[in-house]
Amino acid sequence: MQNKTISISVAKLCDTQNIMQFIHNVWRKEHILSRDKNLFLYEFQNGDYLNIIIAKDTQNNILGIFGFMKYNSHKNPDIAGSLWKVNPDVKEPFLGLKLREYFKENIKHNFFAAPGANLQTKPIYKILKMQWRQMKHYYLANKKLNQFKIAKNPILKDIKIHKPITEIAKITTIDEIKEFDFSSNTKVVPRKDLNYIKKKFYNHPRYTYDIYFLKEEGIIKNLFICRVAKVSTSTVYRIVDFYGELDYIDDIVQFLYQLIIKYNHEYLDFITYGLNNTLLLEAGFNALDFEDENTVIPNLFEPFVQKNSPIYCVSDKTDLEFRQFKADGDQDRPNL
């Protein structure tokens, strides 16, 4: 492809079809975001615009995209990167970087993170002076099951049953969690808010998420969001987002463990970065050893891949407490 004059801008709603076609042609044929317009708009629509930076040539062909999602409704929100792709036939060096630089200069934000970074891209982020991390994959297998079809050889651990000191319940209306203090720990990034939970989980167009609160003496101390993932007739239960500290993690793990037994889920898993490893292990989780090929706790379900999958995340350099979870960015997106 010859180099043509390239313009970079924030995508408008009218660019939707072109971008979906670009995803089909350049990212992956039949990618869900290339054929499901409702899902595409749910992820990216921002009024008359899209949360996507696009590069176009003079003939309106899309040459590259840089998608993002806002974590909160602040004037300078924290933002997660999502799709970032340039047509490899475009011999414009660093077009991908130019898209990112345009984003940095034109989209006001406080903090940027990109969960689910491809290992191949690590050198790019090193040059960008961003922090690269690997997420941990915790799991707790259901000891009552005789066989596992999703997991392979999970380590089985006893959970100490204790009298809970808190109240945990699944919400039926979003109002039940509106009193949660999202800014209780100002040192944690990215900062999320009630609108984020409402859009991403409560009103998700395809998935059903279970949103739980934990109360201690009537005050909500934690929120956590879970989802069932299924392979044929076997299921697992996944914690995909978590709010608050780990003071009551024993109660949470006991509660969820009883749930996975009740519903015959193979295991409970929790993909995360930034939480205290010791507390999670003491609460009953195992930390998956990605080097151990004997034990497999899959991460990819659409389609199902029975392999351990290391997950990486990047962010702006920060002295704040950086935390990431399975559903950050577009990591917990439908794919089929």
Partner: protein, 83 residues
């Protein structure tokens, strides 16, 4: 300009692209001639940073002529001297 920069770059490009080192030219465009792609170039930058103890910034990528091995070698030499 010392040959060490050009030789280093040719060696790394040969390793990543599979092109024989003797066939790599110093003054043709490394992108349009498929010496590197958009991922390999950053791997090369990281190797340059590590080998010559310099830092490459996004501004460097925009301001310097690094489209040829010769241009890139000059940029490395300048950065090393300024260190």
């Amino acid at each position: 300009m010392s040959d060490k920069y050009v030789n280093f770059l040719k060696e790394k490009i040969s390793d990543s692209s599979g092109i024989e080192i003797e066939k790599i030219s110093s003054n043709i465009n490394i992108f349009s001639n498929n010496y590197v792609d958009s991922i390999a170039i950053f791997t090369l930058f990281v190797e340059i940073e590590d080998r010559f103890n310099i830092e490459i910034s996004v501004e460097d990528l925009e301001n310097l002529d690094i489209s040829t091995i010769e241009g890139l070698a000059k940029a490395i030499e300048n950065a090393e001297q300024n260190n």
